[in-house]
């Protein structure tokens, strides 16, 4: 594992320690360990199929896993998913996973957890969701569904957001819009971001963790990592402009 100077100003908000996940016969995560600093954006990077989404799902307990997950000083790996989420963890899944048969309003209402859900913030960031409140979510465009998926996580005062490929499949204009929203959200909560678009990572991330074949192969400062084109090409198989 190559190491660059990491920016870890305080005790990590989230520590993943020796995480293993088996899906069928596949040993998908093979002892993944990394920290997420409190505040800012930590990018979880890697080629397709290296276990980024599985890592996010394992943190939430959506897949069976072994290892330790320490969040806010407490071990949470033995908790049920709903109890983990109630510890102020929001989730924006890779495929949005909005409820297509429910309206936009119903999707948001379902996500309400706090006594005073932050509808003002949600509608300030996504005014379109207010206008489309009665519309069935299945009839929204991909971009609108992504906005709803993010809005659902913002509705509550979450301390950590697990955001999985929020710009996947979106038009360039919407990618810029989502990045702008996440930049604003990063002021309110810590974000663990899975993202393939390195432009977005460069704009948002302070730290970067890189996975390869189910293992962490790099962890450190995101700008420093992206400043090494050869390393980026080797670990992510993409060229950095």
């Amino acid at each position: 594992m190559s190491a660059l100077p990491a920016v870890q100003p305080s005790r990590p908000l989230l520590s993943v320690v020796d995480l293993h996940v088996y899906l069928g016969q596949s040993h998908v995560l093979q002892g993944v360990s990394f920290d997420v600093a409190d505040g800012g954006v930590t990018a979880l990077l890697g080629r397709n199929g290296v276990g980024k989404t599985t890592t996010i799902r394992a943190i939430l307990g959506l897949v069976g896993r072994q290892g330790r997950i320490v969040y806010g000083g407490d071990e949470i790996q033995s908790l049920a998913t709903h109890k983990i989420a109630r510890r102020e963890i929001g989730y924006v899944p890779e495929d949005r996973d909005v409820f297509a048969g429910l309206t936009v309003d119903e999707n948001l209402k379902l996500a309400e957890r706090d006594a005073e859900p932050r509808y003002d913030l949600v509608y300030e960031l996504f005014p379109e969701l207010r206008e489309r409140g009665k519309q069935r979510t299945g009839t929204l465009s991909g971009g609108q569904q992504q906005m709803l998926a993010i809005a659902r996580a913002l509705l509550n005062d979450n301390r950590l957001l697990l955001v999985d490929e929020p710009t996947k499949g979106l038009a360039p204009r919407l990618v810029t819009e989502v990045a702008r929203v996440l930049e604003r959200v990063a002021e309110l909560a810590t974000i663990l971001l899975v993202e393939q678009n390195l432009g977005v990572v460069r704009k948002l991330a302070r730290d970067a963790v890189v996975l390869d074949q189910g293992r962490v192969v790099h962890a450190g400062s995101a700008p420093a990592f992206l400043g090494q084109p050869e390393l980026v090409r080797r670990l992510l198989s993409v060229s950095v402009a």
Binding site: L60, L62, A80, T81, H82, A85, R86, Y91, P93, D97, F99, A100, G101, L102, E106, K109, L110, A111, R113, R152, N156
Partner: protein, 300 residues
């Protein structure tokens, strides 16, 4: 004309019975992915509770009051039984679908055998309120009054379930859970409570079908739950899994088709009484070929 009217209305009565069983079955599968082969036992529990309490609560005045009180107790017993089944047998086997099927099949068989062991294999006559045995004339057809009660009960359950699903937070959780259970839990919602609630609701609806089936058939038998469960499964598949309105439409289609086929098959084509059952199977095959996702558009 009067025959057609009679067949249609009695077909609706049969459909009501199917819907009461299928609605719970459909919700349970839609939300939890559990093929509950013990669901017929919920009907049997409701039927026998209604019969047993109706027989023993002799101090309650006339037959109608006794029937209403014993049916109400039957619904409570059905809800309690279904809740215990979910908590004790289904919950420990969460996500283990094969084991769930084996357990529910086993429970259905064992439960029926237990009822036979206690009260015997033969059917027992059921004392029906007088009004329900009488008929009402509609367009020349003399329709047994109990059919109106069955249709009214099913309509009330349909409206009640739709109201629950559309107007309450738990209903919202169930509707969302039918689509994507994992995402509901990721929102911080304990979906297991919804599981238990849905099982209890299914137990009440099936027990209601049991209490009504006692009047419909004029007797109580151990195997009725099992035999009606087969048609309820057909209704669920035709209606689309997890859809209450789909189940209601499918129940109407199956109930009325079965009545028409039974009567016209016997009188016009001189076929045996099982022609109605065969027709329903053919209808199922046709729907699966033409619209495999069912009437409401939800695939197995």
């Amino acid at each position: 004309m009067s025959t057609f009217v009679l067949l249609t209305i009695t077909g609706f009565g049969l459909a009501a019975m199917y819907f009461l069983i299928a609605s719970g079955l459909s919700l349970i599968y839609g939300l939890m992915g559990v093929l509950n082969f013990a669901h017929g036992l919920f009907l049997t529990v409701g039927a026998y509770s209604t019969w047993w309490f109706g027989t023993h609560l002799t101090g309650l005045g006339n037959v109608t009051v006794r029937y209403l009180v014993s049916a109400l107790i039957g619904l409570c017993v059905g809800a309690l039984f279904a809740t215990l089944v979910e908590l004790l047998l289904i919950r420990p086997l969460y996500r283990r679908h094969i084991e769930q099927v084996l357990v529910t099949v086993g429970l259905g068989l064992a439960g029926t055998a237990l009822v036979q062991a206690i009260w015997g294999q033969d059917s027992r006559p059921f004392v029906t309120p007088k009004w329900m045995n009488e008929t009402t004339t509609v367009l020349g057809a003399h329709v047994p009054n109990d059919r109106w009660v069955e249709i009214g009960a099913a309509a009330a359950v349909l409206v009640g379930l739709e109201t629950f699903l559309r107007r309450t937070r738990y209903g919202l959780i169930v509707r969302a859970g039918v689509e994507n259970r994992a995402m509901v839990t990721a929102l911080g919602i304990d979906v297991r409570r919804a599981f238990t609630l849905v099982f209890a609701i299914g137990g009440v609806a099936a027990a209601l079908a049991g209490a009504l089936s006692n009047v419909y058939f004029g007797s109580v038998t151990p195997e009725r739950g099992t035999s009606l469960l087969i048609f309820a499964f057909i209704v669920v598949v035709i209606g689309g899994l997890g859809s209450i309105t789909g189940s209601a439409l499918a129940a109407l289609l199956v109930g009325v088709t079965q009545q028409y086929a039974n009567y016209y098959g016997a009188t016009s084509l001189h076929l045996g009484s099982s022609i109605g059952d065969i027709t329903v199977i053919l209808l199922l095959g046709l729907i699966l070929l033409v619209r495999p996702q069912g009437l409401s558009g939800r695939l197995a």
